[in-house]
Each structure stands twice: as C-alpha cells, then as structure tokens.
C-alpha cells in the first residue's frame, strides 16, 4: 500500500502545471514550489522572492500576463 495524495497535493500539482504553462514563474522556482504550496509553508516574503525572480528572469519577463 502507498500513501494517497491529499487534496492539497493534488491541487498543488494542477496549479504548478498552470503556472508552468502560462510561464508565470521562473522554471528554477518550480521544483520546490509544489511542496511549499501544498504544505502552506510559503510566507509573503517567500512569494516576494519568487515573484522578483520571475520578473527578473528573461523567460518569465517576456511572458508576463497582466490582469
């Protein structure tokens, strides 16, 4: 038997897939983001770093979507 996945884990994967598809965040941020996202350990300052890196990165910067 293996452990099942929690709703948080399932949704985190979907969110990561969307963020990756929309290229909203820097790719190097994606690896550990799911675990932090689902565990609720992300703090505002963590998001700040993630967003800054996304804006700074060439890849993310070109594909930024404005609301």
């Amino acid at each position: 038997m293996t452990m099942d996945r929690t709703p948080d884990q399932l949704l985190a994967q979907e969110i990561i897939a969307d963020l990756r598809a929309d290229r909203l965040l820097a790719e190097k941020q994606m690896a550990g983001l799911a675990a932090n996202l689902e565990s609720g350990k992300l703090k505002p300052e963590d998001w700040r770093v993630i967003v800054e890196m996304a804006v700074d990165s060439q890849q993310g910067g070109k594909n930024a979507k404005a609301n």
Binding site: M1, D4, I15, L24
Partner: protein, 784 residues
C-alpha cells in the same frame, strides 16, 4: 496479490484487555466483522485509526473521555504497554503504534497506510448537521488548508508590493517637488525641472567642496591668528601689571633694608623680653648694672619696636610673591608671542597658496614677510614678531569677504547635493515603482491562477461527488431518482451546503424528505464517493456499523454496491452487528468468495476480545456431516435451514406461486411446492470455467430426490419424535449430502453466490465475469 492487512495485533488498547491477534485474509478485498454490541468491533476499528492515522478513534467524539490517551488504554493496563501492530502482506516490517507523551506514535518504514473510517456519527453529520459541521465531517477530503494558507500569503505579499509601489511613488513625487522648487527658484531655466536638475547634477561637487575646505582653512588661520594676537595682548597687559607690582615691592623692601641691619637687635629685644619678667634685680640694667630701670615701661617699648620689625618681614614675603607672579606672566606672554608668530606663519602659508579673489585683493607683498614665508616656523625675534603682527593686521581685512564667499559656496554645495540626491531619488524610485508594478502584476496573475484552480478544483470535486453519489444511490435505490448536490456556500468560509431533488422538486433539503434509510445510504455513498476520488485505489476503507435501518431488498443492493465498489479501494472493512447481513453472505446471497467473514464473540474483562472465522453454510454443513461424533439433530437442522435458504432464493427468483400469508415465513414443504412442473423440469445450471467445456447439471432430479427426504429435517432436526429416532444416521447424512450437492450445483465456486443477475439473456448470472461462472436456466418461470 494486492497489499492488504495480514494481521492486526492489539495489546492494552481499549477493549483488548488481553493481547489479541486479528487475522485478515489478504486475498479477499472485503472483510466483514460481525459482532453483537459490546464485542469489540469499535476497538478494532479504533486500533486501525490509531496505527494508520495516529488518531484516537471513536472516543474523540465521546464526552467525558478526556484525556484521550488515558481512555485509549485498556482497563487495568498501563500506557507504556499499549501497542497496536499492523502487518501488511508483502511488507517486511510491521507498523507499531504506541503512546508517546500522550499521543499516538508509529514506528515503521515510511507512513502506515491511510485508513478512511466512516462511523455512524459521521453519517449524521454529513446529512443532518449544519453546513459548517458537514464541511468539518468531510474536510479531510475537500479542505485545502495548505493551498489556502499559501494563497493568503501571496495576497499579503501583493499588499506588501503595493505598499512598496506607493512608497516609491511618494518618494519620487517628493523628490520631484523639491527639484521643481529649486528649478523655480533658479528662474525655470531650460525646458523642465528634471532636465535642468540632471544637467546641474552633473557638476563636480568635489571642486566646490575643495574650495569650501580651502576657504575654511584660511578662515580658521585668520581666526587662530586673531585669537593669538588677542591672547598676546592680554598676557602683555598682565605681564606689565605684574611687573609694576613687583617693582613696587622691590622698592619697599629696599627701603627697609636698613631695618634689616637691626636684625641682631630684634634678637636682643626678644631675649630681653624673655629675660626681664624673670630678672633677679629687675631695676638694674643687666649690661651696665646702673639702677633705675623701669621694667614695665621697658617691656612696652620692646613690644612696640618688635612689632615694627615684623612688618619688614611681611614686605619681604610680598616681594617674593609678586616676583613669582611677574615671572609667570612673563613666561605666558613670551609663549603667547611665540604662538602669535606661529599662527601668523600658518596664516601666511594659507594665504600664499590661495587664489581666492578676496585674498588676492589684499595685495600682500611677500617680500616684506620673508620670515613668514620660511619653510619652517621662524624663531622669536623682534623682527619676526613685527612681521607676524603686520601680516595679521594686513590679512584681517579679508576675513568678512571670505566668510561671505564661504557661506555662498556652502549653499551652492548643499544645493548641488540636494539636486544630485533628488535626481538619484527620482531615478531610483522610478525604477522601484516600475519593478513593484511589474511584480504586482505578476503576483496577481499567479494569484488569479491559484484562486481559479482552487475554485475549479473544489467545484469539480463537489460536482463529481454529487454525480458519483447519485450513481451509487441508484444502485441501492434503483429508479427512485435519488439526487443530492453539494456546493460550497460562497458567502461563508468552510460551509458545505447540500440540496436534493425529490419527486421532481429541485433544491429541497434532503433531510426533510428522504427516509432515515435513504439518508443512511446517501451518507455512506457520499463517503465512498469521496474515498474513491481521493483514495488513490489503495486506501483501507472502513465502514463502522453504518447501516442498520434498511429493509432486505435495499440491504441486498447495498451489499452489491459494496462488492462492486470494493475494487476501488485497497481493502474494504465492514463492521456490523446486523446479523442478516452476515447470514446473507453465509447463505450465498452475496459473493462470499471475496468476503472474509470474521466473528467476534462476547467480550469480557478477563478474556478480552474473542474472534473466530465464520464458515459459510455449505462448509458448515459439510463439517457437521464429517464431525465425529455425528450430531444427527444438528446435521438435520442445519441441512433443512440451508435448504430453506436456497429454495427461498430460487422461489423469489422465479416468482413461484406460493400460498398468500401475512409474513413470508414459508415452511420447507411450501417452498418445495412452489416449484411447478415446468420449472422443476427446466431448471439446470451450467458452469463455465476458463479453458474447459461448459458443465451442465439438471436440477430436476436433485429436487425430486431431496423432496423424499425432507421429513428428516423435522423429525430428526426439529422435534421430539419416535419416528425420527428410527432414522439411521446414514440417512440423515445422505439427506445433508443431497443438500450440499444441490448447493454446489447452485452456488458458483468462483464468487460464492447464487446466480441472481439478469443480464438480458436466457439465464441468470452469478457475480463472476461474462465468460465464466455459473449460469442458471431458465430466466423465466415457465409455469407463470
């Protein structure tokens, strides 16, 4: 073989007052734990909760059971001895749960398998409770605490970025206003204030700063020189005064030098002053021995003369004091003079290298100050001193103009600094604002994705669950149109609303219209739908005494539902005190081949939980026949009851004509009589096994044969009867043997159930697949 529980061992846990091993059959996907109330069912389920989920189980919801760690321990047992061990087949090590500091602690590789446990109290919460409590009952499936926390952190982050953007914009605006003011003060040169400021800001502040420093150096030198002159003047005055006092004192002392000659006389007078009061002949002069000396008068005169002579001594002391004061003043003045020369020399150095107009305007002729231009500070001579004084006086004129120039240049320097800082601030804060704006847009785009995904995720879960619940309910309540919809109330946090469709009316509260049995089964269906969706196919799903109020047809369909859904879970464990459920499996009304039947005996403090394997009826009958000593009464009775069960099912299946009675408690004879000639002739079973030709068996002869022995059931198995005593054991055994033969023809070996599934063909199917299993012919009763 799928990984399922092999053994659950309990020691010191709740009802397990004696260590007990509960065996499971991993080959079977369903375990039915049957036990009357108080037999230990909840202890076993709570033990699973303890080791799999680190939860205290059913006592959590019971009042008066705090602290939980105290009441989870068996009576007369210690917390340190509590142990729940879970062995899964194929796993090398078991998971062992103990109590550590009052909390469940599980040792073992990785995590123990997850167990989803549904208790009756939860069903009530799912159906009847307020939306918030309903949410709480199901939050393990639908709650997203981690995502929601991260989402809120992102919102807070966006607020922070907005704050930074506003701060940068405000700082930029302030800097622009300051620059604009300066630009206006300057008369608005150029096109705009920022262009002007940038141009002005290019100026090299170091040149201005060096000029201000140079001016400051000259100013300081002038001030120092002025202070030196002032100081020298004061000390000169002081010196002259001290010198005057000294000279006066000196003259006064010289005037008394004559008195200094009488110093021997002073000694003589002092001796006489001592002698006279004690003289033997005081009226006679001690030197010339002449008489007539008046002692008293003489002593007075001596005293007067000695007083005058003491004044001379005081003057000498004053002379010494004034001399020292003069010498000190002289030294000070000499030093001040040297300081004046040094300060003038320093001033000369500052002036000589300065190109400031105010200094040039002094037109200093340095040829007149050769000593002041010397490389080192000159020695103190009158010539040098005069040069120094002259220079100081000559340079004094530039002090005020220099001060004004320095103030003007300082203001200019400050303004340049302000402009440069202002321009830098505008540029820096413009960039900050742009960065913040870009970050804010990005963060909001990320937030939008998360919000939408979360909402879609929850909505989809609830929509899927609602549909799944409807599908599951349709199995139990076919054609009744049981439809329940779940949705989160957007106005409240963690509020799970439900609505139902009843008799074509939509959006009614299900608890208001559905029967208790409907609500029970709906609750179980909700739970199973959620477990199916989130279980990943390998969870242990446990139903703890969840259904008690359904009638026989619904119970049968509920059993069918569990069996059909079991493949979606790793293992399905059903605990019940409802004996009909057990008996249906025992009598082939369910697929007993895939269900482990576990019976719990009466619990006692000294013996703890007792359990045993439950045999299906045919197995039990065979064992009874083979038992030594042979219990003829038990065999006859069991055979008759089992036959009744088989015939009851067949007569129902074929809608046989039976006598109309208030309660369907038919006798064996009535049941046998239900088989008309046509059905009795047509009845046959066909077994389809993989790779083997179908095996057909006619049931006609078997029923006819059994019919001739049925009196044995009553006379041997049911009554005190002399005729029955004449029946040999062999005939009783034969009777039982014929019934087991019939059972083996009617019950599928593969699934362990009678064929009762109508798949629209010419026969009834068992629960095996399409191509194998047992088929019962005909489909319809030819006698009807």
């Amino acid at each position: 073989m799928p990984k399922r529980i092999e053994k659950l061992s309990l020691a010191g846990f709740r009802g397990a007052t004696v260590p007990v091993d509960i065996p499971f059959e991993p080959a079977k996907p369903i375990t039915l734990i049957f036990g009357e109330n108080g037999s230990g069912k909840s202890t076993i389920i709570d033990a699973l909760d303890f080791v799999c989920n680190k939860e205290f189980g059913s006592i959590v919801e019971k009042s008066g059971t705090n602290p939980k760690d105290q009441y989870v321990v068996s009576l007369k047992s210690a917390a340190k001895d509590l142990r729940v061990t879970l062995k899964i087949n194929g796993e090398p090590q078991p998971w062992v749960a103990t109590l550590e500091r009052g909390l469940p602690s599980v040792s073992g590789k990785d995590h123990a398998p997850r167990a989803r446990i549904l208790r009756r109290s939860q069903i009530l919460k799912i159906i009847n409770e307020r939306p918030a409590d309903r949410y709480k009952a199901l939050e393990g499936f639908i709650a997203l605490p981690g995502i929601e926390s991260s989402e809120q952190a992102l919102r807070d982050c966006i607020q922070g970025i907005k704050g930074d953007f506003e701060n940068a914009t405000r700082a930029k605006t302030q800097s622009e206003a300051s620059l604009s003011d300066s630009w206006r003060d300057e008369g608005k040169p150029g096109t705009d204030f920022l262009t002007w400021a940038k141009e002005r800001g290019k100026a090299d502040a170091s040149v201005l700063r060096a000029s201000v420093a140079s001016l400051g150096e000259i100013q300081d030198a002038l001030a120092t020189a002025q202070r030196a002159v002032d100081s020298w003047g004061l000390s000169l005055k002081d010196r002259n005064e001290k010198e005057g006092r000294f000279q006066k004192a000196e003259q006064a002392v010289k005037a008394l030098e004559a008195a200094a000659k009488e110093s021997d006389l002073i000694d003589l007078l002092k001796d006489a002053q001592k002698y006279l009061p004690h003289a033997i002949r005081p009226e006679e002069c001690p030197l010339c021995e002449r008489p007539g000396v008046e002692v008293a008068s003489l002593l007075n005169r001596i005293a007067v003369r000695l007083a005058e002579m003491n004044r001379t001594a005081l003057l000498k002391t004053a002379l010494d004091t004034s001399k020292k004061a003069y010498e000190t003043a002289l030294t000070t003045n000499t030093n001040d003079r040297a300081t004046l020369i040094l300060s003038a020399w320093t001033l000369a150095g500052a002036l000589s290298k300065s190109s400031v107009p105010e200094v040039i305007a002094l037109h200093l002729d340095w040829l007149k100050f050769p000593n002041m231009k010397a490389a080192t500070s000159p020695s103190d001579t009158d010539e040098v001193f005069r040069e120094a004084q002259t220079l100081q006086i000559s340079a004094k004129a530039c002090l005020d103009p220099l001060k004004k120039r320095r103030e003007a240049e300082t203001r200019a320097l400050n303004q340049l600094g302000m402009i440069q800082r202002g321009v830098a601030s505008v540029q820096e804060n413009t960039k900050k604002a742009e960065d913040s704006e870009a970050q804010q847009k990005r963060a909001q785009a990320v937030l939008k994705v998360i919000e939408k995904r979360r909402k879609d995720f929850t909505d989809k879960i609830l929509a899927d669950i609602s549909k799944e619940v409807g599908d599951l309910c349709e199995v139990i309540h076919p054609g009744e149109g049981v439809k329940v919809r779940f949705f989160l109330n957007p106005s409240f946090r963690n509020s799970l609303e439900s609505s139902a469709e009843f008799a074509g009316v939509k959006d009614v509260p299900p608890q208001a219209y559905y029967s208790e049995s409907h609500l029970d089964t709906i609750g179980v269906c909700i739970f199973m739908a959620l477990a199916k969706r989130f279980g990943g196919g390998d969870e242990i799903v446990v139903l703890d005494d969840v259904v008690t109020s359904v009638d026989a047809p619904h119970m049968e369909r509920f059993m069918d539902l569990l069996i059909s859904q079991a493949s979606h879970f790793g293992q399905l464990i059903v605990a019940t005190h409802y004996r009909p459920w057990l008996e249906r499996f025992r009598h082939a009304r369910g697929p007993s081949a895939s269900v482990q039947l576990l019976r719990l005996g009466p619990w006692s403090l000294t013996r703890g939980i007792r359990h045993g394997r439950i045999k299906v009826a045919v197995e039990e009958l065979k064992d009874a026949v083979a038992a030594d000593p042979f219990d003829r009464q038990a065999v006859a009775s069991k055979a008759g009851i089992f036959l009744e069960s088989l015939l009851d099912q067949l007569t129902l299946l074929y809608k046989c004509r039976m006598p109309r009675v208030p309660e369907p408690d038919y006798t064996l004879g009535e049941l046998m009589g239900g088989f008309g000639k046509g059905l009795r002739t047509a009845l046959k079973s066909v077994v389809h096994a993989d790779g083997k030709p179908p095996k057909e068996t006619s049931i006609t002869a078997m029923l006819d044969d059994i019919d001739t022995f049925n009196w044995i059931r009553n006379q041997v198995g049911g009554h005190w009867n002399f005729k029955g005593f004449d029946v040999p054991d062999a005939d009783v055994a034969k009777y039982a043997q014929r019934i087991t033969d019939l059972a083996e023809v009617l019950i599928c070996v593969g699934c362990g159930s009678l064929p009762t599934k109508n798949r629209g063909e010419s026969h009834w199917h068992c629960r095996c697949g399409e191509s194998k299993g047992l088929r019962l012919f005909p489909l319809e009763n030819p006698d009807n």
